[in-house]
Symmetry: C2
Subunit: 333 residues, 2 copies
Protein backbone atom coordinates (compact mmCIF):
# COMPACT_ATOMS: atom_id res chain seq x y z
CA UNK A 1 0.00 0.00 0.00
CA UNK A 2 1.14 3.53 -0.49
CA UNK A 3 2.40 5.57 2.45
CA UNK A 4 -0.85 7.54 2.32
CA UNK A 5 -2.84 4.36 2.69
CA UNK A 6 -0.72 3.29 5.66
CA UNK A 7 -1.45 6.61 7.34
CA UNK A 8 -5.14 6.07 6.70
CA UNK A 9 -5.07 2.63 8.28
CA UNK A 10 -3.01 3.90 11.21
CA UNK A 11 -5.71 6.49 11.84
CA UNK A 12 -8.26 3.78 12.60
CA UNK A 13 -6.02 1.75 14.86
CA UNK A 14 -4.18 4.42 16.83
CA UNK A 15 -6.11 6.04 19.62
CA UNK A 16 -5.24 9.00 21.83
CA UNK A 17 -4.14 7.87 25.30
CA UNK A 18 -7.31 9.35 26.79
CA UNK A 19 -9.52 6.95 24.79
CA UNK A 20 -7.57 3.92 25.97
CA UNK A 21 -8.25 2.24 29.26
CA UNK A 22 -4.56 2.35 30.14
CA UNK A 23 -4.07 -0.49 32.59
CA UNK A 24 -0.49 0.57 33.37
CA UNK A 25 0.80 -2.76 32.10
CA UNK A 26 1.63 -1.53 28.64
CA UNK A 27 5.00 0.23 28.82
CA UNK A 28 5.12 0.92 25.08
CA UNK A 29 2.34 0.37 22.57
CA UNK A 30 1.80 0.86 18.83
CA UNK A 31 4.56 2.75 17.03
CA UNK A 32 7.97 1.23 17.81
CA UNK A 33 9.50 -2.04 16.61
CA UNK A 34 8.00 -3.93 19.53
CA UNK A 35 5.35 -3.35 22.14
CA UNK A 36 6.60 -3.66 25.72
CA UNK A 37 4.38 -5.36 28.27
CA UNK A 38 5.05 -5.56 32.00
CA UNK A 39 3.37 -8.71 33.35
CA UNK A 40 2.30 -8.55 36.98
CA UNK A 41 4.97 -10.08 39.25
CA UNK A 42 4.88 -13.89 39.23
CA UNK A 43 1.96 -14.19 36.82
CA UNK A 44 2.00 -16.53 33.85
CA UNK A 45 1.24 -15.14 30.44
CA UNK A 46 -1.51 -16.89 28.47
CA UNK A 47 -1.19 -16.51 24.70
CA UNK A 48 -3.53 -17.52 21.91
CA UNK A 49 -3.87 -16.70 18.21
CA UNK A 50 -6.68 -17.05 15.68
CA UNK A 51 -6.79 -16.25 11.97
CA UNK A 52 -10.06 -15.39 10.22
CA UNK A 53 -10.51 -15.76 6.47
CA UNK A 54 -13.45 -14.48 4.44
CA UNK A 55 -15.84 -17.18 3.23
CA UNK A 56 -14.51 -19.55 5.85
CA UNK A 57 -14.93 -17.82 9.22
CA UNK A 58 -17.29 -15.08 8.12
CA UNK A 59 -19.52 -14.27 5.18
CA UNK A 60 -18.65 -11.39 2.88
CA UNK A 61 -22.00 -9.83 3.78
CA UNK A 62 -21.15 -9.38 7.46
CA UNK A 63 -21.39 -5.92 9.00
CA UNK A 64 -17.76 -4.75 9.58
CA UNK A 65 -18.67 -3.62 13.12
CA UNK A 66 -19.67 -7.19 13.95
CA UNK A 67 -16.63 -8.59 12.17
CA UNK A 68 -14.31 -6.41 14.28
CA UNK A 69 -16.13 -7.66 17.36
CA UNK A 70 -15.98 -11.30 16.29
CA UNK A 71 -12.30 -11.27 15.28
CA UNK A 72 -11.34 -10.26 18.81
CA UNK A 73 -14.12 -12.30 20.48
CA UNK A 74 -12.89 -15.65 19.16
CA UNK A 75 -9.45 -14.88 20.59
CA UNK A 76 -10.80 -13.70 23.96
CA UNK A 77 -12.78 -16.95 24.05
CA UNK A 78 -9.48 -18.86 24.17
CA UNK A 79 -8.30 -16.74 27.11
CA UNK A 80 -11.67 -17.42 28.79
CA UNK A 81 -11.17 -21.17 28.31
CA UNK A 82 -7.88 -20.87 30.24
CA UNK A 83 -9.34 -18.67 32.96
CA UNK A 84 -6.92 -15.88 32.00
CA UNK A 85 -7.55 -12.16 32.44
CA UNK A 86 -7.15 -10.29 29.11
CA UNK A 87 -4.30 -7.74 28.92
CA UNK A 88 -3.45 -6.87 25.32
CA UNK A 89 -3.59 -7.98 21.70
CA UNK A 90 -1.90 -7.53 18.33
CA UNK A 91 -3.73 -7.30 15.00
CA UNK A 92 -2.38 -8.22 11.57
CA UNK A 93 -4.62 -7.32 8.70
CA UNK A 94 -4.36 -8.06 4.98
CA UNK A 95 -6.79 -5.91 3.00
CA UNK A 96 -7.58 -6.12 -0.72
CA UNK A 97 -8.10 -2.34 -0.74
CA UNK A 98 -8.42 0.54 1.68
CA UNK A 99 -12.13 1.04 2.37
CA UNK A 100 -12.60 3.80 4.93
CA UNK A 101 -16.16 2.86 5.85
CA UNK A 102 -15.08 -0.74 6.42
CA UNK A 103 -12.04 0.28 8.52
CA UNK A 104 -14.15 2.65 10.60
CA UNK A 105 -16.73 -0.03 11.34
CA UNK A 106 -14.24 -2.83 11.90
CA UNK A 107 -12.10 -0.83 14.31
CA UNK A 108 -15.17 0.46 16.18
CA UNK A 109 -16.52 -3.05 16.75
CA UNK A 110 -13.12 -4.34 17.76
CA UNK A 111 -12.31 -1.53 20.20
CA UNK A 112 -15.76 -1.66 21.82
CA UNK A 113 -15.16 -5.28 22.82
CA UNK A 114 -11.52 -4.58 23.72
CA UNK A 115 -12.57 -1.79 26.09
CA UNK A 116 -15.21 -4.00 27.65
CA UNK A 117 -12.43 -6.40 28.64
CA UNK A 118 -9.63 -3.89 29.37
CA UNK A 119 -7.60 -5.40 26.52
CA UNK A 120 -5.32 -2.96 24.72
CA UNK A 121 -4.16 -3.07 21.08
CA UNK A 122 -0.37 -2.92 21.41
CA UNK A 123 0.87 -3.60 17.90
CA UNK A 124 0.17 -4.97 14.49
CA UNK A 125 0.84 -5.06 10.81
CA UNK A 126 -1.14 -4.13 7.73
CA UNK A 127 -0.54 -5.18 4.17
CA UNK A 128 -2.38 -5.44 0.89
CA UNK A 129 -3.66 -8.96 0.17
CA UNK A 130 -6.75 -11.17 0.26
CA UNK A 131 -8.79 -10.23 3.36
CA UNK A 132 -7.23 -11.92 6.37
CA UNK A 133 -7.51 -11.01 10.06
CA UNK A 134 -4.94 -12.46 12.42
CA UNK A 135 -5.11 -11.58 16.12
CA UNK A 136 -2.89 -12.71 18.99
CA UNK A 137 -4.13 -12.11 22.54
CA UNK A 138 -2.27 -11.98 25.84
CA UNK A 139 -3.75 -12.54 29.26
CA UNK A 140 -2.43 -13.31 32.69
CA UNK A 141 -3.19 -16.09 35.13
CA UNK A 142 -1.60 -17.10 38.46
CA UNK A 143 0.88 -19.99 38.06
CA UNK A 144 -0.89 -23.35 38.24
CA UNK A 145 -4.36 -21.77 38.08
CA UNK A 146 -4.97 -21.97 34.31
CA UNK A 147 -7.89 -24.17 33.24
CA UNK A 148 -6.51 -26.96 31.07
CA UNK A 149 -8.11 -29.60 28.90
CA UNK A 150 -6.41 -32.41 30.77
CA UNK A 151 -8.06 -32.42 34.22
CA UNK A 152 -11.42 -34.16 33.64
CA UNK A 153 -12.10 -37.19 35.89
CA UNK A 154 -14.65 -40.01 35.59
CA UNK A 155 -17.72 -38.98 37.59
CA UNK A 156 -17.31 -35.26 36.92
CA UNK A 157 -20.32 -33.35 35.65
CA UNK A 158 -20.18 -31.98 32.11
CA UNK A 159 -21.24 -28.34 31.91
CA UNK A 160 -21.76 -25.79 29.18
CA UNK A 161 -22.14 -22.02 29.42
CA UNK A 162 -24.71 -19.78 27.73
CA UNK A 163 -26.43 -21.04 24.62
CA UNK A 164 -25.69 -23.59 21.91
CA UNK A 165 -26.68 -24.05 18.29
CA UNK A 166 -28.13 -20.64 17.43
CA UNK A 167 -25.14 -19.65 15.29
CA UNK A 168 -25.54 -22.85 13.29
CA UNK A 169 -29.28 -22.22 12.86
CA UNK A 170 -28.41 -18.81 11.39
CA UNK A 171 -25.85 -20.41 9.05
CA UNK A 172 -28.41 -23.01 7.90
CA UNK A 173 -30.91 -20.18 7.28
CA UNK A 174 -28.24 -18.37 5.19
CA UNK A 175 -27.68 -21.64 3.33
CA UNK A 176 -31.43 -22.02 2.76
CA UNK A 177 -31.67 -25.44 4.37
CA UNK A 178 -34.24 -24.11 6.84
CA UNK A 179 -36.22 -20.94 7.32
CA UNK A 180 -36.55 -18.89 10.48
CA UNK A 181 -39.16 -16.33 11.48
CA UNK A 182 -37.69 -12.82 11.05
CA UNK A 183 -37.25 -12.15 14.77
CA UNK A 184 -35.60 -15.52 15.33
CA UNK A 185 -33.25 -14.97 12.41
CA UNK A 186 -32.12 -11.62 13.86
CA UNK A 187 -31.33 -13.28 17.20
CA UNK A 188 -29.58 -16.27 15.65
CA UNK A 189 -27.57 -14.07 13.29
CA UNK A 190 -26.36 -11.97 16.24
CA UNK A 191 -25.15 -15.15 17.95
CA UNK A 192 -23.25 -16.12 14.79
CA UNK A 193 -21.79 -12.71 14.03
CA UNK A 194 -21.26 -11.26 17.50
CA UNK A 195 -20.46 -14.03 19.99
CA UNK A 196 -19.91 -13.21 23.68
CA UNK A 197 -16.59 -14.57 24.95
CA UNK A 198 -17.12 -15.95 28.47
CA UNK A 199 -14.15 -14.16 29.97
CA UNK A 200 -15.65 -13.48 33.42
CA UNK A 201 -16.96 -17.04 33.77
CA UNK A 202 -13.57 -18.48 32.81
CA UNK A 203 -11.87 -16.57 35.62
CA UNK A 204 -14.64 -17.47 38.07
CA UNK A 205 -14.12 -21.16 37.27
CA UNK A 206 -10.45 -21.14 38.35
CA UNK A 207 -10.13 -23.65 41.19
CA UNK A 208 -13.65 -24.94 40.45
CA UNK A 209 -13.63 -26.56 37.00
CA UNK A 210 -11.43 -29.63 36.47
CA UNK A 211 -11.06 -29.06 32.70
CA UNK A 212 -12.32 -26.55 30.14
CA UNK A 213 -12.16 -25.54 26.50
CA UNK A 214 -14.17 -23.22 24.32
CA UNK A 215 -16.80 -24.35 21.84
CA UNK A 216 -15.76 -23.06 18.44
CA UNK A 217 -16.05 -26.08 16.13
CA UNK A 218 -19.10 -27.63 17.77
CA UNK A 219 -19.70 -29.05 21.24
CA UNK A 220 -18.80 -32.67 20.48
CA UNK A 221 -15.67 -31.81 18.51
CA UNK A 222 -14.34 -29.53 21.23
CA UNK A 223 -15.39 -31.88 24.01
CA UNK A 224 -13.29 -34.57 22.30
CA UNK A 225 -10.19 -32.43 22.96
CA UNK A 226 -10.94 -32.56 26.72
CA UNK A 227 -11.63 -36.29 26.59
CA UNK A 228 -8.42 -37.07 24.70
CA UNK A 229 -6.27 -34.82 26.91
CA UNK A 230 -7.84 -36.29 30.07
CA UNK A 231 -7.96 -39.92 28.95
CA UNK A 232 -11.69 -40.28 29.67
CA UNK A 233 -15.04 -40.58 27.88
CA UNK A 234 -18.43 -38.91 28.31
CA UNK A 235 -22.18 -39.41 28.24
CA UNK A 236 -23.95 -36.41 26.69
CA UNK A 237 -27.66 -35.70 27.03
CA UNK A 238 -28.62 -34.46 23.54
CA UNK A 239 -31.91 -33.06 24.76
CA UNK A 240 -30.30 -31.12 27.60
CA UNK A 241 -28.02 -29.64 24.90
CA UNK A 242 -31.03 -28.80 22.72
CA UNK A 243 -32.52 -26.96 25.72
CA UNK A 244 -29.56 -24.55 25.42
CA UNK A 245 -30.71 -23.27 22.02
CA UNK A 246 -31.71 -19.67 22.75
CA UNK A 247 -34.29 -19.57 19.97
CA UNK A 248 -36.27 -22.26 21.74
CA UNK A 249 -36.91 -20.01 24.70
CA UNK A 250 -38.38 -17.23 22.60
CA UNK A 251 -42.14 -16.90 23.23
CA UNK A 252 -44.01 -19.59 21.30
CA UNK A 253 -40.87 -20.40 19.38
CA UNK A 254 -41.37 -24.15 19.77
CA UNK A 255 -44.27 -23.85 17.41
CA UNK A 256 -42.92 -21.08 15.17
CA UNK A 257 -39.51 -22.64 14.59
CA UNK A 258 -40.96 -25.87 13.19
CA UNK A 259 -37.52 -27.48 12.93
CA UNK A 260 -37.25 -31.21 13.41
CA UNK A 261 -35.51 -32.60 16.46
CA UNK A 262 -32.64 -34.16 14.47
CA UNK A 263 -31.70 -30.73 13.09
CA UNK A 264 -31.97 -29.16 16.56
CA UNK A 265 -29.72 -31.85 18.03
CA UNK A 266 -27.24 -31.37 15.19
CA UNK A 267 -27.13 -27.61 15.78
CA UNK A 268 -26.72 -27.96 19.55
CA UNK A 269 -24.15 -30.77 19.46
CA UNK A 270 -22.14 -29.98 16.31
CA UNK A 271 -23.20 -26.42 15.61
CA UNK A 272 -19.96 -24.48 15.60
CA UNK A 273 -19.27 -20.79 16.21
CA UNK A 274 -20.88 -20.89 19.68
CA UNK A 275 -17.87 -19.51 21.60
CA UNK A 276 -19.22 -20.91 24.85
CA UNK A 277 -17.22 -22.81 27.44
CA UNK A 278 -17.59 -26.56 27.83
CA UNK A 279 -16.12 -27.67 31.14
CA UNK A 280 -16.08 -30.38 33.75
CA UNK A 281 -16.26 -30.19 37.55
CA UNK A 282 -16.64 -32.68 40.41
CA UNK A 283 -20.22 -33.36 41.56
CA UNK A 284 -19.30 -31.75 44.88
CA UNK A 285 -18.58 -28.48 43.07
CA UNK A 286 -22.11 -27.98 41.70
CA UNK A 287 -22.87 -25.10 44.04
CA UNK A 288 -19.52 -23.48 43.29
CA UNK A 289 -20.19 -23.73 39.54
CA UNK A 290 -23.66 -22.20 39.97
CA UNK A 291 -22.09 -19.40 42.00
CA UNK A 292 -19.43 -18.79 39.32
CA UNK A 293 -22.28 -18.52 36.80
CA UNK A 294 -24.21 -16.03 38.96
CA UNK A 295 -21.10 -13.97 39.75
CA UNK A 296 -20.24 -13.70 36.06
CA UNK A 297 -23.89 -13.29 35.00
CA UNK A 298 -23.53 -16.25 32.66
CA UNK A 299 -25.94 -19.17 32.41
CA UNK A 300 -24.43 -22.59 33.14
CA UNK A 301 -26.11 -25.94 32.60
CA UNK A 302 -25.28 -29.60 33.14
CA UNK A 303 -25.52 -31.64 29.95
CA UNK A 304 -23.81 -34.89 30.84
CA UNK A 305 -21.22 -36.80 32.79
CA UNK A 306 -17.59 -37.82 32.39
CA UNK A 307 -17.06 -41.59 32.32
CA UNK A 308 -13.99 -43.80 32.49
CA UNK A 309 -14.83 -45.56 29.21
CA UNK A 310 -13.33 -43.67 26.25
CA UNK A 311 -15.63 -42.29 23.52
CA UNK A 312 -18.86 -40.33 23.64
CA UNK A 313 -22.28 -41.84 24.28
CA UNK A 314 -25.10 -39.58 23.16
CA UNK A 315 -28.43 -40.21 24.82
CA UNK A 316 -31.88 -38.63 24.81
CA UNK A 317 -33.75 -37.26 27.82
CA UNK A 318 -34.75 -40.80 28.81
CA UNK A 319 -31.16 -42.05 28.70
CA UNK A 320 -31.68 -44.04 25.48
CA UNK A 321 -28.76 -44.11 23.04
CA UNK A 322 -29.20 -42.03 19.86
CA UNK A 323 -28.40 -43.53 16.47
CA UNK A 324 -27.82 -40.11 14.83
CA UNK A 325 -24.20 -39.41 13.77
CA UNK A 326 -22.63 -36.04 14.51
CA UNK A 327 -19.53 -34.83 12.73
CA UNK A 328 -17.39 -31.92 13.80
CA UNK A 329 -18.22 -28.54 12.38
CA UNK A 330 -15.66 -27.29 9.87
CA UNK A 331 -16.84 -23.67 9.58
CA UNK A 332 -17.89 -22.93 6.02
CA UNK A 333 -15.88 -25.97 4.86
CA UNK B 1 -9.78 -28.29 6.09
CA UNK B 2 -10.78 -31.79 6.95
CA UNK B 3 -9.72 -33.32 10.25
CA UNK B 4 -7.19 -35.44 8.35
CA UNK B 5 -5.62 -32.34 6.88
CA UNK B 6 -5.40 -30.74 10.32
CA UNK B 7 -3.56 -33.81 11.60
CA UNK B 8 -1.20 -33.56 8.67
CA UNK B 9 -0.44 -29.92 9.39
CA UNK B 10 -0.06 -30.62 13.10
CA UNK B 11 2.55 -33.23 12.23
CA UNK B 12 4.84 -30.58 10.77
CA UNK B 13 4.46 -28.09 13.60
CA UNK B 14 4.48 -30.34 16.66
CA UNK B 15 7.85 -31.63 17.76
CA UNK B 16 8.77 -34.15 20.42
CA UNK B 17 10.13 -32.48 23.56
CA UNK B 18 13.59 -33.88 22.84
CA UNK B 19 13.83 -31.93 19.58
CA UNK B 20 12.94 -28.67 21.26
CA UNK B 21 15.47 -26.54 23.05
CA UNK B 22 13.19 -26.29 26.08
CA UNK B 23 14.22 -23.11 27.80
CA UNK B 24 12.06 -23.82 30.86
CA UNK B 25 10.07 -20.66 30.27
CA UNK B 26 7.25 -22.35 28.38
CA UNK B 27 4.88 -23.84 30.94
CA UNK B 28 2.42 -25.10 28.31
CA UNK B 29 2.92 -25.09 24.55
CA UNK B 30 0.95 -26.18 21.48
CA UNK B 31 -2.22 -28.17 22.19
CA UNK B 32 -4.40 -26.35 24.71
CA UNK B 33 -6.53 -23.22 24.31
CA UNK B 34 -3.61 -20.99 25.27
CA UNK B 35 0.12 -21.32 25.60
CA UNK B 36 1.45 -20.40 29.05
CA UNK B 37 4.69 -18.47 29.29
CA UNK B 38 6.55 -17.66 32.49
CA UNK B 39 8.53 -14.45 31.95
CA UNK B 40 11.69 -14.10 34.02
CA UNK B 41 11.02 -12.11 37.20
CA UNK B 42 10.86 -8.36 36.57
CA UNK B 43 11.54 -8.59 32.83
CA UNK B 44 9.48 -6.73 30.27
CA UNK B 45 7.94 -8.66 27.44
CA UNK B 46 8.70 -7.39 23.92
CA UNK B 47 6.06 -8.32 21.34
CA UNK B 48 5.99 -7.87 17.58
CA UNK B 49 3.93 -9.26 14.73
CA UNK B 50 4.42 -9.44 10.95
CA UNK B 51 2.19 -10.81 8.21
CA UNK B 52 3.62 -12.12 4.93
CA UNK B 53 1.53 -12.34 1.77
CA UNK B 54 2.53 -14.08 -1.46
CA UNK B 55 3.43 -11.73 -4.29
CA UNK B 56 3.98 -8.91 -1.84
CA UNK B 57 6.55 -10.13 0.69
CA UNK B 58 7.81 -13.12 -1.24
CA UNK B 59 7.68 -14.49 -4.76
CA UNK B 60 5.69 -17.65 -5.50
CA UNK B 61 8.94 -19.23 -6.75
CA UNK B 62 10.66 -19.05 -3.35
CA UNK B 63 12.04 -22.26 -1.82
CA UNK B 64 9.70 -23.14 1.12
CA UNK B 65 12.75 -23.75 3.38
CA UNK B 66 13.83 -20.15 2.82
CA UNK B 67 10.28 -18.88 3.21
CA UNK B 68 9.98 -20.59 6.61
CA UNK B 69 13.28 -18.98 7.58
CA UNK B 70 12.26 -15.55 6.32
CA UNK B 71 8.80 -15.53 7.92
CA UNK B 72 10.40 -15.93 11.34
CA UNK B 73 13.48 -13.81 10.51
CA UNK B 74 11.49 -10.65 9.79
CA UNK B 75 9.82 -11.01 13.19
CA UNK B 76 13.08 -11.72 15.04
CA UNK B 77 14.47 -8.62 13.35
CA UNK B 78 11.91 -6.53 15.28
CA UNK B 79 13.03 -8.10 18.55
CA UNK B 80 16.64 -7.35 17.55
CA UNK B 81 15.73 -3.71 16.95
CA UNK B 82 14.47 -3.53 20.55
CA UNK B 83 17.45 -5.36 22.00
CA UNK B 84 15.16 -8.14 23.25
CA UNK B 85 16.12 -11.78 23.74
CA UNK B 86 13.78 -14.11 21.78
CA UNK B 87 11.63 -16.49 23.84
CA UNK B 88 8.72 -17.86 21.82
CA UNK B 89 6.44 -17.31 18.84
CA UNK B 90 3.02 -18.19 17.46
CA UNK B 91 2.29 -19.02 13.82
CA UNK B 92 -1.00 -18.56 11.97
CA UNK B 93 -1.07 -20.01 8.50
CA UNK B 94 -3.70 -19.82 5.76
CA UNK B 95 -3.01 -22.40 3.03
CA UNK B 96 -4.79 -22.81 -0.30
CA UNK B 97 -4.19 -26.57 -0.08
CA UNK B 98 -2.21 -29.06 1.97
CA UNK B 99 1.09 -29.64 0.18
CA UNK B 100 3.26 -32.01 2.23
CA UNK B 101 6.52 -31.13 0.49
CA UNK B 102 5.83 -27.44 1.07
CA UNK B 103 4.93 -27.94 4.74
CA UNK B 104 8.02 -30.08 5.32
CA UNK B 105 10.32 -27.46 3.82
CA UNK B 106 8.60 -24.48 5.40
CA UNK B 107 8.62 -25.98 8.90
CA UNK B 108 12.24 -27.13 8.53
CA UNK B 109 13.44 -23.64 7.56
CA UNK B 110 11.41 -22.04 10.32
CA UNK B 111 12.51 -24.40 13.09
CA UNK B 112 16.19 -24.22 12.08
CA UNK B 113 16.17 -20.45 12.66
CA UNK B 114 13.99 -20.80 15.78
CA UNK B 115 16.47 -23.26 17.32
CA UNK B 116 19.38 -20.97 16.47
CA UNK B 117 17.74 -18.30 18.62
CA UNK B 118 16.21 -20.52 21.36
CA UNK B 119 12.76 -19.35 20.28
CA UNK B 120 9.97 -21.92 20.75
CA UNK B 121 6.75 -22.30 18.75
CA UNK B 122 4.06 -22.18 21.45
CA UNK B 123 0.82 -21.97 19.51
CA UNK B 124 -0.88 -21.19 16.27
CA UNK B 125 -3.78 -21.61 13.93
CA UNK B 126 -4.18 -23.12 10.48
CA UNK B 127 -6.98 -22.59 8.03
CA UNK B 128 -7.69 -22.93 4.35
CA UNK B 129 -7.38 -19.64 2.45
CA UNK B 130 -5.09 -17.60 0.20
CA UNK B 131 -1.48 -18.18 1.38
CA UNK B 132 -0.83 -15.96 4.39
CA UNK B 133 1.80 -16.33 7.11
CA UNK B 134 1.27 -14.38 10.32
CA UNK B 135 3.81 -14.70 13.12
CA UNK B 136 3.90 -13.03 16.54
CA UNK B 137 7.16 -13.15 18.50
CA UNK B 138 7.87 -12.66 22.19
CA UNK B 139 11.14 -11.67 23.72
CA UNK B 140 12.29 -10.30 27.03
CA UNK B 141 14.27 -7.25 27.97
CA UNK B 142 15.16 -5.65 31.34
CA UNK B 143 12.83 -2.73 32.18
CA UNK B 144 14.11 0.52 30.67
CA UNK B 145 16.75 -1.26 28.57
CA UNK B 146 14.79 -1.68 25.32
CA UNK B 147 16.21 0.19 22.32
CA UNK B 148 13.60 2.69 21.16
CA UNK B 149 13.27 4.87 18.09
CA UNK B 150 13.03 8.02 20.16
CA UNK B 151 16.48 8.49 21.70
CA UNK B 152 18.59 9.94 18.84
CA UNK B 153 20.38 13.23 19.64
CA UNK B 154 21.98 15.83 17.35
CA UNK B 155 25.67 14.98 17.04
CA UNK B 156 25.14 11.20 17.35
CA UNK B 157 26.73 8.96 14.75
CA UNK B 158 24.45 7.09 12.38
CA UNK B 159 25.32 3.39 12.10
CA UNK B 160 24.13 0.43 10.11
CA UNK B 161 24.80 -3.29 10.61
CA UNK B 162 25.78 -5.89 8.03
CA UNK B 163 25.05 -5.21 4.40
CA UNK B 164 22.59 -3.07 2.46
CA UNK B 165 21.00 -3.22 -0.98
CA UNK B 166 21.76 -6.79 -2.03
CA UNK B 167 18.16 -7.93 -1.58
CA UNK B 168 17.01 -5.09 -3.84
CA UNK B 169 19.62 -5.98 -6.45
CA UNK B 170 18.20 -9.53 -6.47
CA UNK B 171 14.67 -8.17 -6.84
CA UNK B 172 15.74 -5.92 -9.74
CA UNK B 173 17.40 -8.93 -11.37
CA UNK B 174 14.13 -10.90 -10.99
CA UNK B 175 12.32 -7.92 -12.50
CA UNK B 176 14.80 -7.86 -15.39
CA UNK B 177 15.82 -4.24 -14.87
CA UNK B 178 19.45 -5.31 -14.44
CA UNK B 179 21.46 -8.46 -14.87
CA UNK B 180 23.87 -10.02 -12.40
CA UNK B 181 26.67 -12.55 -12.91
CA UNK B 182 25.46 -15.99 -11.77
CA UNK B 183 27.54 -16.07 -8.59
CA UNK B 184 26.45 -12.56 -7.63
CA UNK B 185 22.80 -13.43 -8.23
CA UNK B 186 23.06 -16.45 -5.91
CA UNK B 187 24.49 -14.26 -3.15
CA UNK B 188 21.97 -11.45 -3.64
CA UNK B 189 19.07 -13.88 -3.79
CA UNK B 190 20.15 -15.44 -0.49
CA UNK B 191 20.12 -11.99 1.10
CA UNK B 192 16.59 -11.40 -0.22
CA UNK B 193 15.19 -14.81 0.67
CA UNK B 194 17.09 -15.67 3.86
CA UNK B 195 17.92 -12.53 5.81
CA UNK B 196 19.90 -12.75 9.06
CA UNK B 197 18.10 -11.03 11.94
CA UNK B 198 20.68 -9.14 14.03
CA UNK B 199 19.47 -10.52 17.34
CA UNK B 200 22.88 -10.75 19.09
CA UNK B 201 23.90 -7.25 17.96
CA UNK B 202 20.60 -5.78 19.21
CA UNK B 203 21.19 -7.16 22.69
CA UNK B 204 24.86 -6.05 22.63
CA UNK B 205 23.73 -2.50 21.80
CA UNK B 206 21.62 -2.15 24.98
CA UNK B 207 23.04 0.78 26.93
CA UNK B 208 25.19 1.75 23.93
CA UNK B 209 22.87 2.82 21.09
CA UNK B 210 20.68 5.88 21.64
CA UNK B 211 18.01 4.77 19.13
CA UNK B 212 17.47 1.83 16.78
CA UNK B 213 15.08 0.28 14.30
CA UNK B 214 15.34 -2.45 11.71
CA UNK B 215 15.70 -1.85 7.99
CA UNK B 216 12.79 -3.60 6.30
CA UNK B 217 11.37 -0.98 3.92
CA UNK B 218 14.68 0.63 2.97
CA UNK B 219 17.27 2.54 4.98
CA UNK B 220 15.89 6.05 4.42
CA UNK B 221 12.28 5.05 5.08
CA UNK B 222 13.13 3.30 8.33
CA UNK B 223 15.58 6.00 9.39
CA UNK B 224 12.73 8.50 9.04
CA UNK B 225 10.89 6.67 11.86
CA UNK B 226 13.87 7.31 14.17
CA UNK B 227 14.10 10.94 13.07
CA UNK B 228 10.40 11.60 13.59
CA UNK B 229 10.30 9.83 16.97
CA UNK B 230 13.44 11.67 18.13
CA UNK B 231 12.61 15.10 16.65
CA UNK B 232 15.90 15.37 14.76
CA UNK B 233 17.31 15.19 11.21
CA UNK B 234 20.26 13.44 9.60
CA UNK B 235 23.06 13.72 7.07
CA UNK B 236 23.59 10.41 5.23
CA UNK B 237 26.70 9.56 3.21
CA UNK B 238 25.26 7.75 0.16
CA UNK B 239 28.65 6.38 -0.83
CA UNK B 240 29.34 4.99 2.65
CA UNK B 241 25.96 3.24 2.31
CA UNK B 242 26.91 1.92 -1.16
CA UNK B 243 30.07 0.48 0.43
CA UNK B 244 27.75 -1.78 2.48
CA UNK B 245 26.54 -3.63 -0.62
CA UNK B 246 27.97 -7.13 -0.18
CA UNK B 247 28.17 -7.80 -3.91
CA UNK B 248 30.67 -4.97 -4.25
CA UNK B 249 33.21 -6.77 -2.08
CA UNK B 250 33.13 -9.92 -4.18
CA UNK B 251 36.43 -10.36 -6.06
CA UNK B 252 36.48 -8.10 -9.12
CA UNK B 253 32.78 -7.50 -8.72
CA UNK B 254 33.16 -3.73 -9.29
CA UNK B 255 33.93 -4.53 -12.86
CA UNK B 256 31.62 -7.51 -13.31
CA UNK B 257 28.56 -5.86 -11.77
CA UNK B 258 28.59 -2.96 -14.24
CA UNK B 259 25.69 -1.23 -12.48
CA UNK B 260 25.57 2.55 -12.52
CA UNK B 261 26.10 4.47 -9.31
CA UNK B 262 22.54 5.86 -9.20
CA UNK B 263 21.14 2.32 -9.11
CA UNK B 264 23.65 1.27 -6.43
CA UNK B 265 22.72 4.29 -4.30
CA UNK B 266 19.04 3.51 -4.78
CA UNK B 267 19.55 -0.10 -3.68
CA UNK B 268 21.63 0.83 -0.63
CA UNK B 269 19.44 3.74 0.53
CA UNK B 270 15.93 2.58 -0.44
CA UNK B 271 16.48 -1.09 -1.10
CA UNK B 272 14.10 -2.84 1.24
CA UNK B 273 14.20 -6.36 2.71
CA UNK B 274 17.65 -5.82 4.28
CA UNK B 275 16.63 -6.70 7.87
CA UNK B 276 19.68 -4.93 9.22
CA UNK B 277 19.70 -2.53 12.18
CA UNK B 278 20.02 1.21 11.66
CA UNK B 279 20.96 2.90 14.93
CA UNK B 280 22.46 5.97 16.50
CA UNK B 281 25.04 6.36 19.26
CA UNK B 282 27.00 9.22 20.80
CA UNK B 283 30.42 9.89 19.26
CA UNK B 284 31.94 8.86 22.60
CA UNK B 285 30.45 5.38 22.19
CA UNK B 286 32.29 4.50 18.97
CA UNK B 287 34.54 1.98 20.66
CA UNK B 288 31.59 0.43 22.50
CA UNK B 289 29.69 0.07 19.21
CA UNK B 290 32.70 -1.56 17.54
CA UNK B 291 32.96 -3.93 20.49
CA UNK B 292 29.24 -4.80 20.29
CA UNK B 293 29.83 -5.61 16.62
CA UNK B 294 32.82 -7.82 17.37
CA UNK B 295 31.07 -9.57 20.27
CA UNK B 296 28.08 -10.38 18.08
CA UNK B 297 30.20 -11.13 15.00
CA UNK B 298 28.26 -8.55 13.04
CA UNK B 299 29.78 -5.83 10.86
CA UNK B 300 28.89 -2.27 11.86
CA UNK B 301 29.64 0.88 9.85
CA UNK B 302 29.11 4.60 10.27
CA UNK B 303 27.16 6.12 7.39
CA UNK B 304 26.21 9.55 8.66
CA UNK B 305 25.40 11.88 11.49
CA UNK B 306 22.29 13.01 13.39
CA UNK B 307 21.64 16.77 13.09
CA UNK B 308 19.25 19.12 14.85
CA UNK B 309 17.70 20.31 11.60
CA UNK B 310 14.75 18.08 10.60
CA UNK B 311 14.86 16.18 7.31
CA UNK B 312 17.51 14.09 5.61
CA UNK B 313 20.45 15.50 3.65
CA UNK B 314 22.02 12.94 1.36
CA UNK B 315 25.61 13.64 0.37
CA UNK B 316 28.33 11.89 -1.62
CA UNK B 317 31.75 10.89 -0.34
CA UNK B 318 32.96 14.50 -0.78
CA UNK B 319 30.06 15.90 1.26
CA UNK B 320 28.30 17.35 -1.81
CA UNK B 321 24.48 17.19 -1.77
CA UNK B 322 22.91 14.64 -4.12
CA UNK B 323 20.03 15.64 -6.39
CA UNK B 324 18.73 12.07 -6.74
CA UNK B 325 15.33 11.39 -5.13
CA UNK B 326 14.79 8.25 -3.03
CA UNK B 327 11.36 6.95 -2.20
CA UNK B 328 10.58 4.35 0.41
CA UNK B 329 10.49 0.75 -0.68
CA UNK B 330 6.98 -0.73 -0.69
CA UNK B 331 7.88 -4.41 -1.15
CA UNK B 332 6.44 -5.74 -4.38
CA UNK B 333 3.90 -2.88 -4.38
Amino acid sequence: MSIGEFDLIARYFTRPAVARQTPGRVALGVGDDCALLQPSPGMQLAISTDMLVEGRHFLSTVDPVRLGHKALAVNLSDLAACGAKPMAFTLSLALPSVDEAWLEGFSRGMFALADEHGCELVGGDTTRGPLNISITVFGEVPPGAALLRSGAKAGDDLWVSGTLGDARLALEAFRGTLSLPAQAFVLARARMEAPSPRVALGQALRGVASAATDVSDGLLGDLSHILRASGVGARVDADAAVERIALRSMPASDIDLNIDIDMLRLCALSGGDDYELVFTAPVGAREAVERAGRDSQTAVARIGRIEAEPGVRIVDADGAALAQRFTSFDHFG
